[in-house]
Symmetry: C3
Subunit: 353 residues, 3 copies
Amino acid sequence: MKKSLVALAILGASAGFAQAQSSVVIYGTVDAGMIKRTDQSLAIGKRANNTLGFKGVEDIGSGLKALFQLEIRYEPDSGTIEQGANGVQRPLFQGQSRVGLQGAFGMVRLGRGLTAFQESSTQFEPFHGVPSPAGFQTDLMVAGYTSDPLGSVGNSTNRFNNALFYNSNVYNGFQINATVGTKEASTGSAAIVGRGSLANPQYRAGSEASANPYSVSATYTGAAGSLMLAAERNAVESRLLSIAGYVMATPELKLMATRVQQDRGHTLFNSEEARSWVVGANYKMGQGKILAGYGQKNQGALNQGMQKTKQMSIGYEYSLSPRTYVYADASNKKGPTIPSSMNIYALGVNHAF
Amino acid sequence: MKKSLVALAILGASAGFAQAQSSVVIYGTVDAGMIKRTDQSLAIGKRANNTLGFKGVEDIGSGLKALFQLEIRYEPDSGTIEQGANGVQRPLFQGQSRVGLQGAFGMVRLGRGLTAFQESSTQFEPFHGVPSPAGFQTDLMVAGYTSDPLGSVGNSTNRFNNALFYNSNVYNGFQINATVGTKEASTGSAAIVGRGSLANPQYRAGSEASANPYSVSATYTGAAGSLMLAAERNAVESRLLSIAGYVMATPELKLMATRVQQDRGHTLFNSEEARSWVVGANYKMGQGKILAGYGQKNQGALNQGMQKTKQMSIGYEYSLSPRTYVYADASNKKGPTIPSSMNIYALGVNHAF
Amino acid sequence: MKKSLVALAILGASAGFAQAQSSVVIYGTVDAGMIKRTDQSLAIGKRANNTLGFKGVEDIGSGLKALFQLEIRYEPDSGTIEQGANGVQRPLFQGQSRVGLQGAFGMVRLGRGLTAFQESSTQFEPFHGVPSPAGFQTDLMVAGYTSDPLGSVGNSTNRFNNALFYNSNVYNGFQINATVGTKEASTGSAAIVGRGSLANPQYRAGSEASANPYSVSATYTGAAGSLMLAAERNAVESRLLSIAGYVMATPELKLMATRVQQDRGHTLFNSEEARSWVVGANYKMGQGKILAGYGQKNQGALNQGMQKTKQMSIGYEYSLSPRTYVYADASNKKGPTIPSSMNIYALGVNHAF
């Protein structure tokens, strides 16, 4: 049967490529720039995520489509897979790995990807969700919340593994999105002391979730703007609520605001609270775009003092082509867990392919 | 020469793509579903292997072809590279990485891939060789045999690294396949105590093979069915013999049976034996297919009691399109090394691209 | 917005593929052979680098181009990502990960890649820069120099991470190339005792560079041949100087010579010197090509004895097609740090796609 395997391989070479043409799309981004942070030396790094993706859609008739998407994430300055804290390598397909069906009922997918809340919220962030510390996405936009506290060390903080993803179709501008994860334990997850002790942590290393993680978002999008309501609960039962919206003040001017509230009472005493808000604006000028935002995060025990983080950022993007732009950012962040005042400057190029 | 490099890059962009069209095929599978195992909570997992592959065939004239194949394996529920025991990541190209020539002499390839026996045997397995525990491939079909005992921890159990692969062409339905590995040591291989002691194991960590691993299979395939004879010896000189066959009782009904015998006497006292047999059937009904199988594995010392493992599985596949099907499996497995009786239920989707 | 995301995905499926056709080139190499080294058993290995790459060029008008290149490196005999010393896995995009712009000013790129010297020098190496120990590239061609001494353990020895790469256009055969790295520390870098002590090494694990690494090369290429002058300084301030050239004695015969000098005085006492020279020839005969070279490396303290390494290699390549050739090499290397005399024989196939 090897021969037949080879025959298949050869047929596959044509059949397969026919498929490639009809179904496999290769896409991605390379974003690299020079970054200067107050407490660090000049570095080459990224502003946006760097991706190399493979996706496809198959029309299987009667209004049904099968679809898949596999998205590699990497660090262009070192050529490695995307790295989390302490240089821990993240999954190869850190971006997402999902397969599903789409039809009149909406879209159902299985695998790993952004939660409903995390995926919905980026459009309300003034730096359109880039992970750069000059943006707000990874901290203030989510009040320091993590979607995957029991994931492997260094893993993503805004995705669910082992999840089912549902997205309704859009009816008159309304859409519902829901993500539900299993309680499955992750290899290499760290212990969480929480309300336990070092000797007896609330969540041991490799623990299962104590409740199914879920995330829901509801959005309305019209000509004038968009509104989002979202709620999420992670594997250690931290709860997040968010309301966000944007308005198109003029065709060039987008104004946006987000409010997020996190309740970590399940793992912290005194019902530990975290709250944040971000306001921002995008203004288009020909091939240029100005990005500006300001936000605050408060965390602590309500009956005690709350610690405050403040961030102000401004950026400029200039499009050299539909797929390539250069950018310059300046940002200041003040807070308890970082240099009392940290400035970040970035200058780089972003190329989509 | 950078300029010329760039010139090349630009030419390459066209020439290269011309190549891509003529030679590089991107293919793969995404298989994800919900799995419930007696002793585990509901999980998202896979039934079949998940692959992202790159392959090509070049006609180099006078009946000769050059061919290559690189096959990534991954876990869609977590986005990681395929993982072995304890979440150890397997090689990036776990599926295979081979290059070779094909002609009147047959096909010769170098690299890493399934052994002759492992690749030939899957067509006689009632769940067409899927790694799901609801199938028989990874345990009963091979009597618990592993092709790569001295490979890196977590590595594949049915492949040879550092091997030469030969496949004859098919003459009147007959074909011979052979795989021979070098004695090369693998980085990160574990010690095997075998007939030694913990202090002085028979194979130290990072040992070379004590004899060249080899695998041979001979098959005859006709209109009515197919027959296979195979033999394999791994790096620690465990020996495997297998006979398998299927008959097409009707165009819709495929009946199959396999018998495997393993001799681990080189590393275990009392000439440790392992024997297994699997019978199964596939029945096509329109876009649907029923998969059913039953098998037993006996292992131990012949002059003492043999331990018995029994497995019974039934599955159903429904094709939504030539490239997409949904499946439902139910399986029961009884044995010494697992929950005395383990049930597995799976429900999912498989999409080829 | 998921719907719109899907809409995008579907548009993306066509738009994206339009891009794939216009911008994403998939290319690579599979090189595998049998290698016998005096002190090792017969092995399957590689002679040239094994790559799977993705690259693209976008014409953005007014003479400007945006370009990117991502290059996976792997080991075909085991299917793993390319491995460094002790099987440590290198970055996924070990080959390179760069993005940049090209125009009348030349080409500017950011990311990770070969330094100006390392990329320029390969054309003067008789085995056109293959990493095989039968070639001279990785040792004698660079006098044992490493471009990335503070990189993660097992990382490349001839690349800069976190660097800016400039290449001028070619004016009347002249070209200037320059690479400058940041002082950024790498995760997982080992300590370098240098002029310190084990207790207080000159460079602690995870150290930043003590000076910005840089590499410059200037080349002149005409019909009769080419000449190169290059200088490099790495993160621990080792300095390298090189002069190299080749002449086309006849259209079939290329004669080449290289001289390299390395000063490691910053980390070693007695101004530790390393010097090497390599001479070689390539001779084309129809579809065949003979490769021959001889070189010496001297290292030590000038005021003490210098240790000598000598290498002599001969190889033959036979092209089966424009993209596929078979090769046979024989090499002898004598030196202090290896079996006093080591022979290497290699026989294999190289396929480009």
